[in-house]
Symmetry: C2
């Protein structure tokens, strides 16, 4: 519909969902698969969605990025634990006019990427979505789906075409003026609830349902807000209570890091914990609660990853 | 030997050990038992000790403090979770000349006790000992045994008699000039290792053996030292590394709080965590690491105590 060529790099719960939605919107989408490549090639891509199931029997599936065409928009939905190899992975599909969009959680991803692609347009996005991969090339979309997008460098209008395409299939896309603030706002929830769900091995309802962990979650949120402020992202303290109230109303939920933990996968500690702690420290703010969560997570992960 | 009448209130791993040692030194010791009263009355008190086993077939055992004589020295070895009822418990055996000695971990116990006994001599002590209760009126003494004793109010020479009695049976007693500093020094180890052993369900060797938890333990220690300083207890930062080195050399060890946790007993959170956090806060110092340990411990305890 837009005439643009899209690449989805990392076709899990997030990339699979937005890629399928772009196809549904009539876009030309090229999917880079890892372990699910054979299944995607033979069986296509399935999204069981609260908004109506989608089944694409044929998708433009690739196993190597070097086999893919250069794309106008490269959408990276890899877990951040793979970001050390990501620039090399996307290099074959990035031309000088390519817009790169990172749909990832954490802080500092765009900054690292820009070192490799200093002249490219780079956007960052956060997905507010409940979706899981339930099998090879098979995604379950449970709730929500909105994207918040902000420009990191060299903003252009391509992102508007992307947003319009998704909006045409009922996916909300909010383009915000300040990526830094948007990333920190997401961390206000992610830092306490991802970490505590693993440390305590409890879903979100237990964390907000116990007075001690509710208090702790709030203290962590206030710390993240303070850190954000030190890094130039203005978030009011009342945002913590708004998030806590929203979490109280949510159904019992396993944050993505808890799913990684329960499945003995590597957790996204670096971008979600180390980077905010270091960024805040560079601005003279010590995130002690967050640092402690980070240390506990690393210790827990060492217990099952043997690294 | 001293002519003094001693009471041991709380005859577990600590009280049983020091009480038996006092008997061995020839002192007149009156033991207040709780659940082990019947066993102590019929079978006596046993200490299996690295320094030589001791068996007292007959001890002055009581089940109610109102049946006991007034004592010259009342040695309280109860867990601090019972401190809310302790003043009433010892009232029958305390006269105006009684010296009260609290062998307990944490902060603020003497201050609370002094409200009830403003005119009595009060000492505080910390036991550096590895001992466990392995059965009713049966204690296993594995290692160490030294006491550090400091005066809280109205110091007198009775404590010297007490110390001499224990020294005569090879128990080191160090009478220090500053109880406040001694209590904070003990907290430098207790706060990280008791708490983290429960939060991580790991013995001390694992905590110092993993880079992340070693770093965390050190951060907590430095925080406790900073808090101590704000409360007038001068401890050098190098004390943290000294304690960490000592812990590395220790055999795998389950701190007392971990034993409570593993046996699903109430943990000594109030005096070991809440009180230091509040005391430091009153002096303008925020113990964020310690506060987080406290919150995690309360949440973990709520999971098995249903309170």
């Amino acid at each position: 519909m837009t005439g643009l060529k899209f690449a989805i790099v990392g076709c899990g719960a997030i990339g699979g969902f937005y890629g399928v939605k772009l196809v549904q919107a009539g876009c030309d989408v090229h999917f880079l698969f890892h372990s699910d490549y054979e299944t995607a090639l033979s069986d296509g891509l399935k999204v069981d969605s609260v908004d109506g199931d989608i089944y694409l029997p044929h998708v433009c599936a690739y196993h190597n990025s070097s086999d893919m065409p250069k794309c106008d928009v490269v959408i990276v939905c890899l877990k951040t634990i793979k970001n050390n190899t990501m620039p090399q992975l996307i290099a074959p599909i990035v031309s000088q006019n390519t817009t790169i969009l990172l749909i990832q959680n954490g802080l500092g991803m765009e900054h690292e990427l820009a070192v490799h692609f200093p002249d490219n347009t780079i956007y960052g996005a956060m997905a507010f979505i409940c979706s899981n991969k339930i099998g090879p090339a098979h995604i379950s979309h449970l709730d929500y789906g909105a994207l918040t997008v902000g420009c990191y460098q060299h903003g252009n209008d391509t992102i508007l075409n992307f947003a319009d395409s998704l909006k045409s299939v009922n996916v909300d896309v909010d383009i915000v003026p300040d990526l830094n603030t948007a990333r920190w706002r997401k961390l206000v929830w992610n830092i306490p609830f991802n970490g505590l769900s693993v440390v305590l091995n409890k879903t979100t309802d237990h964390i907000v349902g116990n007075v001690s962990t509710y208090e702790l979650a709030r203290c962590i949120m206030i710390e993240v807000i303070g850190a954000a402020r030190s890094c130039g992202a203005e978030i009011p303290d009342s945002f913590a209570d708004k998030m806590l109230d929203a979490t109280k109303k949510m159904k019992p939920y396993k944050p993505s890091m808890m799913l990684d933990f329960l499945n003995r996968r590597e957790m996204e500690i670096g971008y979600m914990y180390d980077n905010p702690v270091e960024e805040a420290r560079a601005h003279g703010y010590e995130m002690k609660y967050t640092h402690m969560v980070e240390c506990l997570l690393r210790s827990i992960q060492a217990g099952y990853l043997n690294r």
